[in-house]
């Protein structure tokens, strides 16, 4: 298979002894009980598991949106959780893309502006990203809707815009938490096709959480999370 070759190179994401424990008053929930794994550059990984097994928790840790109780997450050789706040923000902005189950677009901004939001926040000249924007609009098949506000779009369209927004900086890694959770089967399929395309055309590393047996097989590898551990 093609990942044989990729595994030879340095891993894109390297997780060692990752633990996450939530303390709620007197109750302590050990959600992740020491995970070790690597993901190669350009790999497409699906995480599956029963509800409450810690999938989202893991994804947020990979996305530097949360801090682990123990263990490390390295991205391209850098330890995420030893970074300072601003560095993390920069990393999230430029090297990571995140897509949630809810599309979370800014209501009064147009499709274009929503996609450009990370650039707006970063302060870079918008013009520099014009080509990238056009390319993404083409890929998500929304060229005709670029001036529309999210209100006028269907759920599937909104989620595609959210994906494009995550990709505007051409990040190395795209993290998706049940991106099709709110979509019907037709829209789900077109979104997954989009994700697979991105993986191929840009070589973006993809980590997605999904409940769908069908979509999980679209990737290169499935990680089964159960009770805070991977089961095979």
């Amino acid at each position: 298979m093609k990942n044989d070759m990729k595994k030879a190179s340095d891993p894109c994401i390297k997780v060692e002894g990752l633990k996450k424990t939530f303390v709620n008053g007197t109750v302590t929930v050990e959600v992740l009980k020491g995970l070790d794994f690597t993901i190669a550059p350009g790999e497409f990984v699906s995480i599956m598991g029963p509800s409450g097994s810690g999938k989202s928790t893991l994804l947020y840790l990979l996305g530097a949106l949360d801090t682990p109780t123990a263990g490390t997450v390295q991205m391209n050789g850098r330890n995420l959780h030893s970074m300072r706040g601003r560095e993390k923000s920069r990393l999230r902005r430029t090297e990571l893309g995140f897509v949630f189950q809810f599309y979370n677009l800014v209501p009064n901004l147009t499709v274009e502006e929503n996609i450009l939001l990370p650039i707006i926040l970063d302060g870079k000249p918008l013009k520099m990203y014009k080509e990238r924007l056009d390319e993404l609009l083409r890929i998500i098949d929304m060229e005709d809707h670029r001036k529309h506000t999210p209100r006028k779009l269907s759920g599937g369209q909104q989620q595609r815009v959210a994906v494009a927004r995550a990709l505007i900086f051409d990040p190395g890694v795209l993290l998706l938490d049940e991106p099709t959770g709110n979509l019907d089967s037709k829209n789900s399929e077109s979104l997954m096709r989009l994700v697979a395309d991105i993986n191929k055309t840009f070589g973006t590393t993809i980590v997605q959480v999904t409940h769908s047996d069908t979509f999980s097989t679209w990737g290169d590898r499935i990680l089964h999370l159960e009770d805070g551990m991977f089961s095979d």
């Binding site: 996305g63 949106l65 601003r86 979370n104 502006e113 939001l117 990370p118 926040l121 302060g123």
Partner: protein, 825 residues
């Protein structure tokens, strides 16, 4: 539905911050409502209590129908009255202490029976030039029995000896270290004044249930005498009412701010619960029950907030009561009382207010199709913004039209005109905001990115727009107070600047023609004084057509030159010319008086001053502006002196010297008569200071509006932040950092406050005009101008306050948990 009630009870207590805010808004509004209602009675009570005491609970004064001030009381028929006391009452000034003003009461030994003596004097000791004083005065001046009091009265100094000391009852009730009362034997005073067997002060206890009935009966049976009310309760009330009306006016702003806050809170309440409401509907609850229960929640807030508000209101009244007790310095504070009905009114107000403010969100909560509520599906919204804009524009234009095109009508309905203008502004601005943002957003986005995004947030967040509303109302209340206060100062200054005099003497405590003549002669002979500038006036309070009125006794030939404040010119002549001949008994009256009493040029009117009634002819009507806001009658000074036996007054004159040094010297002379001498500047400053008291009270109200407003604004910021937590989380996942988030929040607040202030500044000029019309409605006709310079410090302060209010929000959102926010409920 008990379960839904239970659910609501639990959620009410769950959101502590909102509970506190709602209760705070209702409590404060109710408290101020209660205090304003109670204040009139309170002040009237605190002013009239000492009067009731001092008059020994007599209500009726009996005067001679012949108009003589001294008369025999022998033939009084005891009809309509119970008992009567006859005495001679005279003003005087103490010479051997510090020129205290005294009122001498010439009485018989018998009339002293209600008084408690600290020692036990005999009737014998109460004879000749003996004097009974109060314990308070004895202590204040370390006086004992046998001590001498040198008193100037009836033009001469007389020596009295303290022969008895009694408790601070009756006529002694109001004794202070500046003025007090002394009782002397009737025989002594009558002999000194050579009026044996005659009295000038006869009072009686009313014999019927009401004062009016007693007076009618008495006057019917006593053709030679006339019974008149001893003191005028209406007068006290009418003086107080004007100020309290101004407070009510300010109360409107507080109620508006609070109403907006309660309305906003309820909007949020029903939004938060829409799923639960849907669930209950799906289980068979009707829309009516849901609405009923939500309104019941408003009822509960009203009840609890109202209860707190009434307690706070009682507290406020208590403090004011303590403060307004005239004898507070002597440890005499009137018993604290308020009408029980006020509690009921305030309670009803609180409950009604809470429920009315909650009404529209509650009704809207279940307006959608039941199916859509259950599934939480939004129905296409009607374009409410546009409708509001049109309605608001109509209100604004309507009030502007009325105010500019037909001022008299506008004044008749001034409070409503102002209210509709304000509501109009509140309805119009959201659309304008929307339009401006959509116009400029795309232009500023490439340059000021975070700023543009923040402003965009204001457009989308109802809570933030609610903030603008709150700030607008609070700022309008500030504009109102500042404009009103500075206008009052300007008016007083203008009035004083328009009067030509250097020095002014008032409060002279003698009503005796002899003393007055002596004073005038002394001044005329003084070379430092410009002889021809000497001018006298007299103001007295009395009754006209049963209403309280003021007579201004003037020298017709001099008064018009004396002041430009009132314009007496009429055609080629002058309205005051008709007053020249005192025999004719003519009067020039104020425009407002003419309107109120239905008088016209040529009308005959009975003026009752000092208990003496004379018929006058109205020869002119003049706009007196703010010279006096009561019903006013200008008459010839000579009429007041000869017909009504009023001899005290004010004296104005110019000097060749430095007025300040002359005032110091003259003060010594006038102290003998209790008179107070002031330069024009002093008099003006004191007058301004008196007016400031009202503006201070009004400022307190607008401060309350700001305080409630900033709490409400803070709450709205939290609400808007809570509602957008997920948006912030998304931004976080897109790589914003805390600094950027803080900048967004701060920019939002700053934009809200600045936009609101711009709205208020634009509206300011029109508002000033409306305040002027409301003032006219309250019988204080004045021109109010809106001055940006005067308002500016307050604008800066508001910006600071609201920006500060954002800080807790920044702290609170510091630890935003993206994972939490992204969870799907």
């Amino acid at each position: 539905m008990r379960i839904f009630c239970k659910y609501i009870m639990r959620t009410m207590l769950e959101k502590k911050a909102r509970l506190v805010l709602l209760l705070f808004a209702i409590t404060l509004s109710t408290a101020l409502f209660f205090a304003s209602l109670g204040l009139t009675d309170l002040i009237v009570e605190s002013v009239s209590r000492p009067i009731v005491e001092k008059t020994e609970e007599h209500h009726i004064r009996i005067v001679s129908e012949t108009g003589d001030s001294f008369f025999s009381a022998d033939d009084i028929v005891t009809a309509g009255i119970k008992s009567h006391t006859s005495s001679i009452v005279l003003p005087g000034v103490i010479q051997n202490l510090d020129h205290e003003i005294v009122t001498l009461h010439g009485r018989t030994w018998d009339s002293l029976s209600p008084y408690t003596f600290v020692d036990a004097p005999s009737e014998d000791s109460f004879s000749g030039s003996s004097a009974v004083i109060s314990v308070r005065v004895a202590e204040l001046f370390s006086l004992e029995r046998g001590d001498a009091l040198e008193v100037l009265f009836a033009g001469e100094t007389h020596t009295l000896h303290v022969s008895g000391i009694v408790g601070n009852q009756g006529v002694f009730y109001g004794d202070t270290n500046r003025s007090f009362d002394v009782i002397v034997p009737y025989g002594y005073l009558a002999e000194t004044l050579e009026v044996e067997g005659l009295y000038n002060h006869v009072t009686a206890v009313m014999g019927e249930d009401s004062l009016d009935a007693s007076l009618v009966l008495f006057n019917e049976m006593n053709p030679d005498f006339r019974g008149i009310p001893l003191y005028n309760e209406d007068f006290v009330a009418s003086m107080v009412n004007q100020q309290v009306n101004a407070l009510y006016f300010m109360l409107v702003f507080i109620i508006l701010v609070s109403g907006v806050i309660i309305h906003g809170a309820f909007k949020l309440i029903v939004t938060e619960r829409r799923r639960v409401i849907g669930t209950f509907l799906s289980q068979g609850a009707t829309k009516g029950t849901i609405r009923g229960i939500l309104l019941a929640e408003g009822f509960v807030y009203g009840l609890v907030g109202g209860a707190f508000g009434i307690l706070l209101g009682i507290g406020m009244l208590y403090v004011l009561h303590d403060y307004s007790s005239p004898l507070r310095a002597y440890g005499v504070v009137e018993p604290f009382r308020f009408a029980g009905a006020l509690v009921v009114y305030a309670g009803l107000f609180a409950i009604g207010f809470a429920m009315v403010s909650a009404l529209s969100p509650v009704i809207r909560s279940v307006r959608r199709e039941v199916k859509n509520i259950i599934l939480d599906i939004r129905e296409p919204q009607r374009k409410k913004g546009a409708l509001l804009f049109v309605l608001g524009t109509l209100l604004l234009c309507g009030s502007a039209l009325l105010s500019y095109v037909s001022p008299p009508t506008a004044i008749d309905y001034a409070p409503f005109v102002m209210l509709s203008a304000i509501i109009g502004v509140l309805m119009v601005y959201p659309r304008v905001l929307d339009f401006l943002i959509s116009l400029f957003f795309r232009r500023i986005l490439p340059v000021f990115r975070l700023t543009a995004l923040s402003i965009q947030n204001v457009r989308t967040s109802a809570a933030l727009r609610g903030n603008i509303t709150v700030i607008v109302i609070a700022a309008i209340s500030v504009v109102t107070v500042v404009s009103l206060s500075s206008s009052m100062v300007r008016i007083v200054t203008d009035a004083f600047d328009s009067m030509r005099f250097d020095i002014y003497v008032h409060n002279i405590q003698t009503n005796d023609p002899g003393s007055r003549r002596t004073i005038m002669d002394t001044l005329r002979e003084d070379e430092r004084i410009v002889g021809e500038s000497l001018m006298e006036t007299t103001s007295v309070e009395g009754n006209v057509a049963g209403e309280f009125a003021i007579a201004e006794g003037i020298e017709p030939g001099r008064f018009d030159d004396f002041t430009d404040y009132i314009d007496f010119t009429h055609g080629d002549g002058n309205l005051l010319d008709a007053l020249e001949n005192a025999e004719e008994r003519n009067t020039v009256i104020a425009t407002t008086t003419a309107a109120r009493l239905g008088l016209d040029v040529g009308s005959a009117v009975d003026l009752d001053f000092n208990g003496i009634v004379q018929t006058y002819t109205v020869t002119g009507i003049v706009d007196v502006r703010l010279w006096n806001t009561r019903d006013m009658f200008f008459v010839n000074l000579a009429n007041l002196r000869e017909d009504h036996h009023i001899d005290h007054g004010r004296i104005y004159f110019d000097t060749h010297e430095n007025p300040e040094t002359l005032v110091d010297e003259l003060q010594d002379y006038f102290r003998n008569f209790g008179g107070i001498v002031q330069t024009r500047d002093e008099a003006r400053d004191i007058n301004i200071e008196n007016n400031r008291q009202l503006s201070r009270m009004l400022s307190a109200f607008s401060l309350f509006a700001i305080v409630i407003g900033s709490f409400g604004a803070l709450n709205n910021m939290f609400i808007s932040c809570l509602q957008r937590k997920r948006d912030f989380a998304v931004l976080e996942s897109l790589g914003t950092h805390q600094g950027q988030r803080n900048r967004i929040l701060l920019t939002e607040s700053l934009f809200c406050v600045v936009f609101a202030l711009v709205v208020v500044v634009l509206y300011g000029n029109f508002h000033a005009r409306l305040i002027g019309q409301v003032a006219s409605f309250l019988l204080l006709p004045m021109d109010i101008t809106f001055s940006l310079v005067e308002i500016f410090p307050f604008l800066l302060a508001s910006i600071a306050i609201y920006t500060l209010a954002t800080l807790p929000l920044l702290v609170k959102t510091r630890n935003l948990n993206v994972i939490e926010e992204m969870k799907i409920e």
